[in-house]
Structures are given as C-alpha cells and as structure tokens.
C-alpha cells in the first residue's frame, strides 16, 4: 500500500526542525517523513477491520511533528515507525463509509477492566495508552501497529468507527474529528456569558461554531489574523472579530472593564481589571496564554485547546485572580443538557451539518504531493485556506487492496 511513513531518525528530525523554522511545513522535504510502499498493517486483534481512507486531514499536531516541533512529552506515547493521519473518513471493505474516532483507549487495547476514564466514556483521558496489546500510541496516526490515515489503508477497532450519514459529503465527514475537539472544548466553557476565542484556524473556527450552538446568548469575541478567517469567524457565530494584537483592548471594551497598565494611568492595556468569563485558547503559545491571563476575569477560566509545547509564562495573574487553566484534549462522552450521556462525535456530526463546516476544507492533495500539501497546511492562514486534506479516493493502490 502507499503510505507516508514517519521513522525515528534523529538527524532528519533535527533537519526538519531547522527547515521548519524557516518555512513552516518544509520539514516534510528533509525530515523523517517519506512516501513509502508498505505492507498493509496486520489486524492487531480478531475484531479489527481495515479502513481505506477517502479523505484524511492534516492537523496542527501533525505539522508540529513533521517540522520537529512536537514536545518530548510525546516520545513514550508513540511507536515508530508510524503512519500519521487521524482525521479520516474512509470505507470499510463492505463499503460502509465511516469516520475514525482515533483515540486508542482501553477497549481498543483489549484491556479489561478498563481504566476509570474509559469506563466513564472519556477516551481522551485513557490512562493506559502505552499498555495492552498495542504498541504505544495515543491515537491512530501515532501507533506503529494500526497505521494511520495518510495511507491507502489502516487498521481500526470497531469501537473507533462511526458510520457516516449519506447526507454528509466526504468533505463534511472529514471535519467531524476536528469539530469534536471544538465541541469538547466549548463544553468546558459552558455557562460563560462572555467568551474570547484566541485563534481562527480550523480549531478556532469549529470552536466558535460549537460555542454558538451551545450558548446562543453568549457574547463571543475572537481573534483572526487573515481576512478569510475574519469572514468565517463572523459567519460561524462570533459577535466581534479582531486582530490578535487587538484582543486586550477589545475584551476591555466588550466587558466594560477598566484596564491596568504597568505604568499607572498611561492608557496602555496590559491587563484588565475584570474581563471575559472564559477564554478558549486555540493557539497554545506563550503569547496567547499570556493574552488569556490578561483578559480573563477573576475566577474565570482558560480552556487550552491549541496544543502547547514549552511555553514561558508569568503565572502571577493565575494565582492572584484565581483563574483556572484547563486543558481540552480530544473528545469522548459528554453530558447533554438533560443529563444523558452523548458521544462527542455525534454532537460534532450534527454541528458539521448544521453549521456547514465542510466549507472549511480548502484544498485536497494526492499522497505523492505530500510536500506541497504539508506546506499548504502549514501556511494555510496566509494562503487563504483553513483545512488541507489528502485525497485518497483516486489512489490506484487503494483499489488493489
């Protein structure tokens, strides 16, 4: 089968880091990622099935890996070599169209009893991602045994698969996984009347859509760097869209706060006296988290959705203003308004349809143009794009399996 494979190679990893620091996405040309002709992965267990991807998205965490920027935290949580790709819509051998919920929790690892998190349906919090009958890997796309979506085939456990309604296009279906991340994050900001979303890339935009769906009356303020992001942010439900450097002043205006300056009364806005109830940070940088701390009201919360790496932060405001900084990783089972459990993917599928999130897929590439695809994805904002995906529907190897 045809696949993009990521091998452990320290030299190439270093080269990718250097190349990626000059041109985002350029790590794909010098790094450990290579187009390869591989054997299709063996099924790790009797229940497992083969999935043949139709579209497979490129995520920010993929790009961090390709450009050598991912945190060392992940080293024990992956197994080499692996095939990336976890935002997938594909076909089963019987023709059923499915989307992948890529988290490899206790069930897919054949662990019984399951960990408390998996037992509660919170797969993203699985405590056994390095155990069981699979090599380490927190998701399909980072586990050697399963393969990943950037290939013409990979292995999946039935618990990871969700049938796709006929009414959804492939472009819509491939947006379900990132949308589920946004839905999960938005639920952590539930109850907030004023919310700031930092970043308007894929995660930011789907989070805006989720927050608007969950909080019709909330005031949503968001940052967006590029014109198309501003347009989409407003279309998906943001009340106010500002440039990233304008967020502190904008949050002050919209919350009726006063500003506190490092120099008394000098008119600069270093932080707010009050602020928004919640910030959803879809960037995850030192700068964005610092902005979040500056504009969150005392007792408010910051939901960190964007994957951070090492950051440098002044945490005094977190302490002094009793701000909660909480992570939002992937998805699992949520609690509906009536108290019943509901799968995040089901909520996401509905949202993709109602908010027309398929429009966020800006371009697709065949696997052999992976360098172009990854550079496009890494520069999506400035190139007027949002989500870039690999299109495997026309790969001849796909039909030979």
């Amino acid at each position: 089968m045809k696949a993009l494979q990521f091998k452990r190679n320290i030299g190439r990893y270093a080269a990718a880091r250097i190349a990626g620091s000059f041109t985002p996405g350029r790590g794909s040309s010098v790094g450990p990622l290579k187009l390869a002709d591989l054997d299709a992965p063996e099924m790790p267990g009797p229940d497992w099935v083969q999935v043949r991807p139709r579209l497979s998205g490129i995520c920010g965490s993929d790009l961090a890996t390709i450009d050598g920027r991912s945190a060392r935290y992940f080293e024990p949580l992956v197994s080499f070599p692996f095939v990336p790709g976890h935002e997938v819509v594909g076909d089963l051998t019987d023709g059923t169209r499915v989307v992948l919920e890529p988290v490899l929790g206790c069930v897919s690892r054949n662990l019984d009893p399951t960990c408390p998190s998996c037992a509660a349906g919170h797969l993203g919090n699985c405590q056994h991602t390095t155990f069981g009958n699979l090599e380490p890997g927190i998701q399909t796309g980072s586990c050697h045994d399963t393969g990943g979506g950037w290939a013409t085939a990979f292995a999946a456990h039935p618990s990871q698969l969700h049938p796709v309604a006929d009414t959804l296009s492939d472009e819509e279906a491939v947006m379900i996984e990132p949308t589920a991340c946004g839905v999960h994050a938005a639920l952590k900001a539930q109850g907030a009347a004023t919310i700031a979303i930092l970043g308007a890339g894929t995660l930011g935009l789907v989070t805006i859509a989720a927050l608007r769906a969950q909080n019709p009356d909330a005031q949503i303020l968001t940052t967006a760097r590029y014109p198309h992001q501003r347009r989409l942010a407003a279309q998906l439900g943001a009340d106010h869209v500002v440039a990233p450097q304008e967020i502190r002043r904008a949050a002050r205006r919209h919350t009726g706060s006063r500003a506190i300056s490092l120099h008394t009364d000098d008119g600069a806005v270093d932080r707010l006296s009050g602020g928004v109830d919640a910030v959803v940070d879809c960037v995850g940088s030192s700068e964005s988290i610092t902005d979040g701390l500056a504009i969150t009201r005392p007792g408010g919360r910051i939901v960190l959705v964007g994957m951070p790496s090492q950051v440098s932060l002044e945490l005094t405001p977190l302490w002094h203003r009793e701000i909660q900084l909480i992570g939002a990783y992937t998805y699992g089972t949520e609690t509906a308004a009536d108290g019943t459990p509901v799968r995040t993917f089901d909520l996401a599928a509905d949202l993709v349809s109602t908010a027309d999130l398929g429009q966020l897929v800006s371009a697709v590439y065949p696997l052999n143009r992976y360098q172009d695809a990854l550079e496009h994805a890494a520069g999506a904002g400035r190139r007027g794009a949002v989500k870039i995906a690999f299109d495997l529907r026309s790969e001849k190897e796909r039909d030979q399996l």
Binding site: H240, E246, G256, A259, D265, G267
Partner: protein, 546 residues
C-alpha cells in the same frame, strides 16, 4: 493707562506685509513645498491647470502688548464696565483660559495668556479680591501638564495658585463640579463648570487663531462637558456648518451662541478678553523661515537651508524628528486685543482674524491638494495619529473657506502625510479603540454616531483616564471624525500621498506613493485634465471663495 502712546500701534519693524496670493502654475513655476508630517517634499504641479494659494504675510504685532492689554481692560467694548469696576473684595472671581490646543505651534514665552492673566490679577489684587480660581478651559481635551500650564500662565502665576489648588484643569466629568444651567429653545442642555457658574465674574482669556474660536464658544464649549457638547459636536451640525469657520453659515456657531445666551440668562457674568495673533509661524528669520517664503523668492541661502533640513530629517528616526518639531515655538505676535461683552468683542476679533488670514479666490477646482504638517490642535507634544490626520485635512484645512469649498462637489482631495498607524497611548487611548473597532466596522459618520458614540462617551475607563491621566475624553475621536463629515459628504474621493497603506485604507481613503500617482488616480473621478488648487498652509489662511 500707563502711557499716552497709542497702545494699538504696531511695531512697524518690517516691510509692509503683502496680502495673500494665488499663483497660476506655469512651466516656469518652481516646485512647491508640501508639508509632509515632520518632513517636506517639493512637488511639481501640472502647468496650465494648477494654482497655489499663499497666505498673507504676517501682520505687524502690537508694539506694546502690555500697554494694549491694560488699555483693553480699562476700555471695554459693548455693554460692559471696565474690568477694575467689576472687581471688589469678597467676590468670587474665575479666570478661564484657552488650553494647549491654542495656538499652534505653541508660542514663545511670554505666552499671551500669561501677559493678560498677570494684568487681570494685578487689578484683582488692587481691588482686594482673594477668592480667585484659574481654570484651563479644556472641555474634554486632555489635561495640561505642569510644564504646559507654566508655559501658558507663567511661573509666577503658576507658583502662586497651583500649589493651593486654585489653578487647575477643567474637569467635565466631575459630578460635583458641573451643573446644568438650562436648555436652549432648541432643547440643548447647557452644562457648565459649577465654579464658573457660581462666580461673581468669569474672565475669559482667549487666543483666536481661527475664526471658529472665541465668542460664546470659549465658555459654552470650554467650560462644558459631554452633556452640552453632544448637541453641537455631531454629524448633523457639522454637515450644516459650511463652513464651521464661517460664523454666518455655521450651525456649530449658532448652537454655541444659543448656549451662550442661556449662560448669560442664568446670571453668569462674563468679561471676555480676546486676542488675535499674526501668522508668523516659522519666523521671518531663522532656521524655519524658508517655510513661509514663496518658492520663487527663495535665495541661495534659503535653498541650501531647505535642502540641509530635508536631508537631515530624512536620516533621523521619526521620534527624533517629532522631538525637534515639538520643541519649535512660534514667534507669534499679538495683533489685537479687545475685552468686554462677549458678542461685541468677538465681532471685532473675527474681523481682525480675517485681516490676517483672508485670501480672495475665484472659483472651485476639481482637485484640492494639501501638505499636512506635523501638528494639529490635538497632538501638541504628542503623536499625529491617523484620525488626527483625517481631522486636520478634512476638518480644519478643508473648512478654511467662506463662500464655497475650494474643490467642487464630487471632487478629489489629495493630502500628503505619512499617516503612521501610531497612537499616543497616554493622550489618545480611546482613539486606538476607535481605530481598531469603529473604523474597522464603518467609516460612515452617521452610522458611527448612532452605533458607537454613547458607549465610548460613557466608558468608565476613558473617563477615569480623562480625569486622572492626560487622556482626551473617550468621545473625542468621534468628534474628530465628525469634524470631517462635511468634507466626506462633499468629496468624491480622498487620496493620501505617502501614507501607511493599511492606516489609509482603514479610514476608507486611497493610498498613493507619489503626488503624480495620486493625480492619476484622481483622474478616474474628475478626468485627465482636472484643475487643481494647492493650499500652502501653514502658515494658516482662510479662502474667500467666490
């Protein structure tokens, strides 16, 4: 009176000043000097279809300003007794004076305000008046710093009054310090300084640099707040002030006059002292004198000093250039002083303003060009941000006319200014928000007024900064935008030469890198052989367009 000499005699030290002049540009015309913020450009205007309006040369100043001041106080105009007769022990006296926005640039010491205030205080002391307060009548402008107050009133006055809290900046947001005196027949609230309202006499000390200044506006605006200002600092008023420099056709003027009547009827007694100055902005001699000479009269020394100045400024960072120009103090001279009853005084003042500034101009052109300087009323010791560029060009310079605008309806205005996306956070905090939020949404003055004005006017943080820091009031950038609303309605296009493209675009204008490019862009609106007027301002002048 201290002498028998005519106190209004002019110094008569120079050649008789020449009146303003309109140059028809031909092929022999030299390049014309354009101000470009804190830099300069020499621009060649198209021959055969361009004209340049030059200001009148500076009138002679009064030979004995102190004598003229004493004479004016003793010989009031209109229905008023001499000032000395209005002063008595146990009275409450308030002396209000124009703020940092006048004159431009700031004048060399001694400032006219110092001279007049010292004379008034001498009379008050002779009359045994103890309860004297001095107020910088800044309405919703930023507070003046100690240095700025010292410059305006002099060290002696400052040291005598400021430490005891009797010399201070007007605070239009002080809930205990403001009072509503009534309402005009047009339903306009008249809000006023409580101290001034409760005084037995208010002496107002004015410097009239343009015909809009002075009269009832001195007190009805200078000692008021948002409650009053919103009635005339609005789009409707500005669009119906054609121009706001022409009192007979200014809705702004009419509203202030109605408010002045309410103030008078409420029993507030005002002794108005108004002065005019010449337009000796850059000096008859000295390093900047070339800026107020006509280009074809430049001699070798002028050319050399201009080139040296231009090249020197080019290599300096903008902060250094700003510092150099901020330190420039104009050698203005007082050309007249009149005191007494407000309206009678102001009539003479206005005539004296026009004596210095009026230039007769025939007809309109398709294009109006202007080189905007480094300063406007609201960036003294500060940064000329994009909103102030708009206000100076479309507000002040465009409206320096009587009769009709220099450019025809649907014509094009071309302004030269670097227009940096830069703001002074201390002085202009709400301007930053206005630029980032309001102008990102709309540049339509009506929409801006409807949607955003109240929120900014009542923003607690802006009010806090206005009262406690040195910030213009939250609503001030709105007024700057409204100031240009008549021009926005009149013009077909606005082009900024050499401006920051992003800042220019944010304001809804077009950006050009050179004047030639701008003229070409203008031809889309007014055709290829469009006629052009260039206003060579500063020094300041007023066009009487027939």
């Amino acid at each position: 009176m201290s002498s028998n000499a005519d106190p209004y005699k002019t110094s008569n030290k120079h050649l008789a000043p020449r009146p303003g002049f309109v140059l028809d540009v031909d092929r022999s015309s030299p390049p014309i000097l354009f101000h470009h913020g804190d830099q300069f450009k020499l621009e060649k205007l198209p021959a055969g279809r361009s004209r340049v309006i030059y200001p009148p040369e500076p009138l002679e100043g009064l030979a004995d300003p102190e004598g003229a001041i004493r004479h004016a106080l003793a010989n009031p105009i209109g229905d008023s007794e001499p000032l000395a007769a209005l002063l008595h022990p146990d009275m409450k006296l308030t002396i209000a004076f124009d703020d940092i926005s006048l004159p431009l640039p700031p004048m060399r010491r001694p400032d006219i305000r110092q001279r007049i205030i010292e004379a008034v205080l001498d009379l008050a002391a002779e009359a045994g008046v103890d309860d004297v307060h001095l107020i910088a009548a800044l309405a919703i402008h930023r507070r003046m710093t100690e240095d700025e107050l010292r410059h305006a009133v002099g060290d002696r006055v400052y040291d005598a009054f400021a430490p005891s809290g009797r010399l201070y900046n007007h605070d239009a947001e002080d809930p205990d310090g403001m009072v509503v005196l009534g309402e005009t027949p047009h339903g306009e609230d008249v809000q006023f300084s409580r101290r001034a309202a409760e005084s037995d006499l208010v002496v107002y000390v004015n410097i009239n640099i343009v015909s809009m200044d002075g009269g009832h506006k001195s007190t009805a605006t200078g000692l008021s707040g948002y409650t009053s200002l919103r009635h005339h600092h609005n789009v409707h008023t500005m669009r119906n002030s054609t121009s706001f420099m022409d009192q007979k056709n200014s809705a702004l003027h009419a509203s202030n006059w109605r408010m002045g009547e309410v103030i008078r009827d409420a029993g507030v007694k005002i002794f108005q002292i108004e002065t005019t100055i010449n337009n000796n902005t850059f000096g008859r001699t000295g390093p900047l004198s070339v800026l107020q000479k006509r280009e074809w009269e430049w001699n070798a020394k002028d050319r050399a000093s201009f080139i040296a100045m231009q090249k020197g400024l080019e290599v300096l960072p903008s902060k250094s250039r700003r510092k150099i120009f901020s330190s420039w103090q104009a050698p203005y001279e007082m050309t007249s002083i009149q005191a007494g009853e407000v309206e009678a005084v102001h009539e003479i003042t206005t005539a004296n303003v026009f004596k210095q500034q009026s230039v007769a101009v025939e007809g309109q052109t398709d294009i109006l060009t202007m080189g905007l300087p480094y300063i406007c009323p609201y960036n003294v010791n500060s940064i000329m941000n994009p909103i102030l560029v708009m206000c100076l060009g479309l507000g002040y310079f465009f409206n320096m006319y009587r009769g009709k605008p220099l450019v025809r309806e649907g014509g094009v205005l071309i302004m030269s200014h670097p227009t940096p996306w830069e703001f002074h956070p201390v002085h202009h905090p709400s301007y930053i928000d206005f630029f980032e939020e309001v102008l990102a949404d709309t540049t339509d003055p009506i929409e801006i007024e409807r949607k955003y004005e109240k929120k900014y006017a009542e923003d607690e943080w802006y009010i806090h900064l206005y009262r406690n820091s040195y910030a213009y009031h939250g609503v001030h950038p709105f007024y700057m935008w409204y100031w240009g609303s008549h021009a926005l309605q009149h013009l077909g296009r606005v082009i900024v030469v050499g401006g920051d493209p992003a800042a220019v675009q944010r304001m809804g204008f077009q950006s050009a890198s050179t004047l030639q490019d701008a003229l070409e862009m203008a031809s889309d609106v007014v055709g290829p052989q469009a006629t052009i007027t260039h206003v060579k301002n500063p020094p300041i002048f007023m066009s009487d367009v027939t």
